[in-house]
């Protein structure tokens, strides 16, 4: 066991964890934020994407200890039910989600994508979301959502 100290959504989290505890398990089980999901265990599906110091990371492929001292942002940290993040709003308005399981990771990836490219083309969005699998939407409305989200974010 080892001490780990990091910030999750701005709140300091000091916990004792196993050396092999994955960041995603730390977020879900220790911190108790279950919006970050596990869909595949092989870094393929992107349901577990969070931001670590502003960079999108697959939380199933990082140890909690590797995030020591970092600022982690999860889906719970980017907007609230009362005031959605513009990207969350865009997903709602464009029917960019169905079952909702891939959605947190998809939104987190989309926000990072737009932070790097303020007005991405359809091809750039499709390429940028290649690491996030959705089985429900066929991506059509996700692409529309990200385009709309980019506009809302001031692209």
């Amino acid at each position: 066991m080892a001490e780990v100290s990091l910030k999750v959504n701005g709140k300091v989290e000091n916990h004792e964890v196993g050396e092999n505890t994955l960041l995603v398990d730390f977020i879900r089980e220790t911190v108790g934020l279950t919006g970050t999901h596990v869909g595949c265990d092989t870094s393929q599906c992107g349901a577990c994407v969070v931001h670590v110091d502003g960079v999108s990371v697959k939380a199933c492929t990082m140890l909690a200890m590797q995030a020591e001292g970092s600022e982690v942002t999860t889906i719970e940290g980017i907007g609230s039910s009362e005031k959605l993040h513009p990207m969350q709003e865009a997903f709602h308005e464009n029917h960019g989600l169905q079952c909702g399981f891939c959605t947190p990771g998809m939104v987190m990836s989309a926000i990072e994508l737009v932070s790097k490219n303020k007005s991405p083309s359809e091809a750039e969005i499709r390429d940028g979301l290649e690491g996030n699998i959705c089985r429900c939407t066929g991506y059509h409305n996700i692409v529309k959502s990200v385009q709309a989200g980019a506009e809302k974010m001031g692209g």
């Binding site: 265990d41 599906c45 169905q98």
Partner: protein
């Protein structure tokens, strides 16, 4: 903006999912819970000589270890059987909850280890010693009948040998035909892959001798029925099944699997809540797979290019055990659809269902109907090519004419309504069909082969009319229930047995209430997914939620309105016969009297001025609805592709879909369902394949190896609708969940063949990976050179 039927109301359920507040089974924890891990067979076919659990039981943190010998309740059951051609019944071999004496596929559960932590359970499972006596694997469908015996006493590994249609008339048509078009197609095996893996959290209540199971189910009431009545043989009231937010299903979450049942059973043994969540590889190994047919097709044409007969001989791979609806998929959900939307006077089909030492196969989005559509639309396309007709015009020539409805097919179904040409015309217009040849020549200047492919499909949805299902071998009813509770303040609670796992029922079902009662969408709350809170229901599959469940809500609303009118009549001192209800207001015809729905609701619960002598207080109604017939969505999808002959890479450059789903409740959600269905169909046609090696090892058991469609594999889609309302349900609706997955694979494969036909390519197997396409081109060129 209207919030009623036909409006693209934004989804009520989005906010929780977008903010990470969705509550899926794995998000739930119970005090004192322990974790289960299943030890699975790593060989496809073997006798179990011995299992030693001593070391595992003594390992750190282990609470219990169980094997098949410890289980004293029954296993999964078969929910649908068919008669064999010789009159005997489907062979239903037992499926124990944990393997007893034998394993029958890689992933078959052999033991469960329950420990304080998941890690401890996994570590301890490595200490379980299993001695196997390996038997030959049976993998290949075509030779399964000659393989090693999988189930004791089941000859030739055959579960059933079923037929439908008039063999004599069909063979006569084939003999008298001016042309017989022959084709053999393989419908590749797929893994459904909802993004949320299956999970269970089971808890036993010692005080009431009852269980609560939280689980990833499309049909919580069926889960309760199977667990209570068939496995545990206890009263249904002793089990509560909760399917909270569920992350996609696509068929894979209809059935009761062994893991959920074992956790529930063991929760009583150890008197602690038990949690199990599949990792992705377990999902690949144990979620029921889909498709996996080989179809031999013969289509008879007369000298006018009219279809006069169709014969289809099918082999279906059903895997190591018979899953709940495995038998229905290749028979009554497949053989009955072989007429497509064509007027075919004689049809005969024979289906043989085989066991292999692979994961059980059952319903996956479309279930039987994609297989029927694929073989039919492939052979239709080949026929058009052989007779030198345009693919669209050949279809048009053979469509059932719009004045022929109701239309009795040669394979049992009666289509109530339809009009197929407008959808074909619309799709052709959407994709600019008439100018295709100029696009083809433009592409050829760039060294690309461009092709266009048509697929016209029909499906039978709204599963199912109980009497019909029962007559065909179904062991459950096909109705759905709903209750509508009007609260004293006029807000509405709707409970349904249907389950939403992405379909948006909270929004669309509320739209039905808004339309009928005139209350705002925000005043309607939907309760579903909890067997203790909803009346008995059948769940969500076979595009039935709206066409059966939605109609049940409509019927319950009618009862509410009928009673409300009586209350309103009393309040307005009028006769109930004179009361009209419109847009939330009751009026008395010929007078200016009116009363609002809210006032009636309040009067029902505060009955100070109320006809108590003749009418009960309160305003809550339940309806059960059993459909009279299936519903028949139909339409045409057209795909346009470009193939790079040097690499075999297929690029989808355009997609037009025009579907007739009857009346639409929420066009935005319908379009989303179509997009998702097309994506899964494209996945089948281009990318996905569950591949077993000759030893029965699943080589594609993770996302590293199984090619899921990703954003950059797909185009955007053009989606439009036509509408012939269903004639036999109150809402005129048909269902839209599976259409995309049914229509799209043949459209895409036909487009690839169309693109490559100048090179002499006339066949293409699924998935049409770059290697497959490249080899087909090389082979065609080699043939041409000979």
């Amino acid at each position: 903006m209207s919030e009623g039927i036909g409006a693209s109301v934004k989804r009520k359920e989005d906010r929780k999912f977008l903010t990470g507040k969705g509550r899926y089974t794995d998000d739930i924890n119970r005090p004192g819970q322990v974790h289960a891990h299943f030890l699975r067979s790593d060989v496809a076919h073997a006798n179990i000589k011995s299992i030693n659990t001593k070391a595992a039981s003594a390992a750190a943190g282990v609470v219990a270890v169980y094997t098949g010998e410890d289980i004293d309740v029954g296993g999964p059951i078969c929910g649908w059987v068919v008669p064999n051609r010789d009159g005997s019944a489907t062979h239903e071999p037992p499926h124990p909850l944990l393997a007893k004496g034998k394993v029958r596929f890689v992933g078959d559960a052999v033991a469960v280890v329950i420990a304080e932590s998941l890690q401890q359970a996994k570590s301890a499972s490595e200490l379980v010693e299993v001695e196997y006596e390996e038997l030959p694997a049976v993998v290949d469908l075509e030779t399964a009948s000659a393989g090693a015996e999988i189930h004791e006493g089941m000859a030739e590994n055959r579960y059933f040998d079923w037929e439908l249609g008039d063999e004599e008339a069909t063979d006569k048509a084939l003999k008298s035909a001016s042309r017989v078009v022959k084709l053999t197609v393989r419908n590749n095996r797929l893994v459904p892959n909802p993004m949320e893996p299956r999970a269970a959290l089971a808890e036993y209540d010692d005080l009431n001798d009852s269980y609560t199971l939280y689980t990833t189910s499309q049909s919580p009431h069926l889960t309760r029925l199977v667990l209570a009545a068939f496995m545990f043989q206890i009263p249904e009231s002793k089990i509560r099944v909760v399917a909270p937010d569920v992350g996609g299903g696509f068929g894979a979450k209809i059935y009761v699997y062994v893991e959920e049942a074992v956790c529930t059973w063991a929760s009583k043994k150890i008197k602690r809540p038990i949690k199990w969540t599949a990792d992705r590889t377990q999902a690949f190994l144990t979620d029921a797979h889909g498709r996996d047919h080989i179809n031999n097709v013969q289509l008879a044409l007369d000298s006018n290019n009219k279809i006069i007969g169709l014969r289809v001989d099918t082999l279906a791979n059903l895997g190591g055990y018979l899953s709940a609806f495995a038998v229905a998929v290749p028979t009554y959900l497949h053989g009955t659809l072989l007429s497509g939307l064509y007027d075919i006077p004689a049809i005969y089909t024979n289906v043989k269902g085989y066991a292999t030492t692979t994961t059980p196969v059952d319903a996956y989005r479309g279930a039987g109907r994609p297989e029927a559509t694929y073989l039919l639309e492939r052979v239709i396309d080949q026929a058009a090519r052989e007779v030198g007709m345009d693919q669209a015009e050949f279809r048009r020539l053979n469509f059932i004419p719009k004045d022929a409805f109701p239309y009795q097919t040669a394979v049992a179904l009666q289509y109530d309504t339809g009009d197929y040409e407008p959808a074909l015309d619309k799709a052709m217009e959407m994709i600019d069909y008439k100018n295709f040849e100029s696009r083809r020549s433009e592409a050829s200047k760039r060294g690309k082969y461009r092709g266009i492919g048509v697929s016209s499909y029909i499906e039978a949805c709204g599963i199912a009319p109980s009497a019909v299902a029962g007559a065909l071998g179904g062991r459950v009813g096909g109705w759905e229930s709903a209750s509508v509770r009007v609260d004293p303040t006029g807000t509405i609670t709707v409970t349904t047995g249907a389950h939403s796992h992405g379909q948006g029922h909270a929004t669309t079902f509320a739209q039905i209430v808004t339309e009928k009662l005139g209350v705002p969408n925000s005043s309607v709350e939907l309760v579903h997914g909890d067997s203790d809170r909803s009346p008995f229901g059948m769940g969500t599959y076979g595009s039935r939620s709206l066409a059966v469940g939605g109609v049940a809500i409509s019927k319950a609303l009618d009862k509410v309105i009928e009673k409300s009118k009586k209350i309103a009549a009393h309040l307005m001192e009028a006769s109930a016969d004179d009361v009209e209800f419109k847009e939330g207001k009751f009026t008395v015809s010929g007078t200016d009297k009116e009363t609002a729905f809210g006032e009636v609701a309040l009067a029902a619960y505060v009955p100070h001025n109320y006809p108590l002598e003749t009418l009960e207080p309160g305003l809550e109604e339940t309806a059960f609805y059993d459909p009279m017939n299936f519903t028949y969505p139909a339409g045409t999808h057209i795909a346009e592709v470009e193939v790079d002959p040097t690499t075999g890479v297929v690029e989808i450059v355009d997609w037009a879909a025009c579907d007739d789903f009857g009346n639409l409740i929420n066009p935005m959600i319908v379009e989303g369902q179509v997009h998702g269905g097309i994506a899964q169909g494209i996945g089948q046609a281009l990318l996905e394949n569950a591949h077993y090696d000759e030893n029965g090892q699943l080589l594609t058991a993770s996302y590293m190896d199984y090619c899921m469609p990703r954003a950059d594999d797909l185009p955007s889609f053009k989606v439009e609708c036509t509408n012939t309302p269903c004639t036999h349900n109150d809402l005129g609706v048909k269902g839209c969940g599976e259409a995309g997955a049914i229509a799209s694979p043949p459209a895409l494969i036909n487009a690839i063949i169309n693109a490559l036909s100048p090179l002499g390519v006339s066949d293409m197997s699924m998935p049409a990976t770059p290697e497959t396409v490249w080899r087909a081109i090389q082979n065609a060129q080699a043939r041409a050179a000979e």
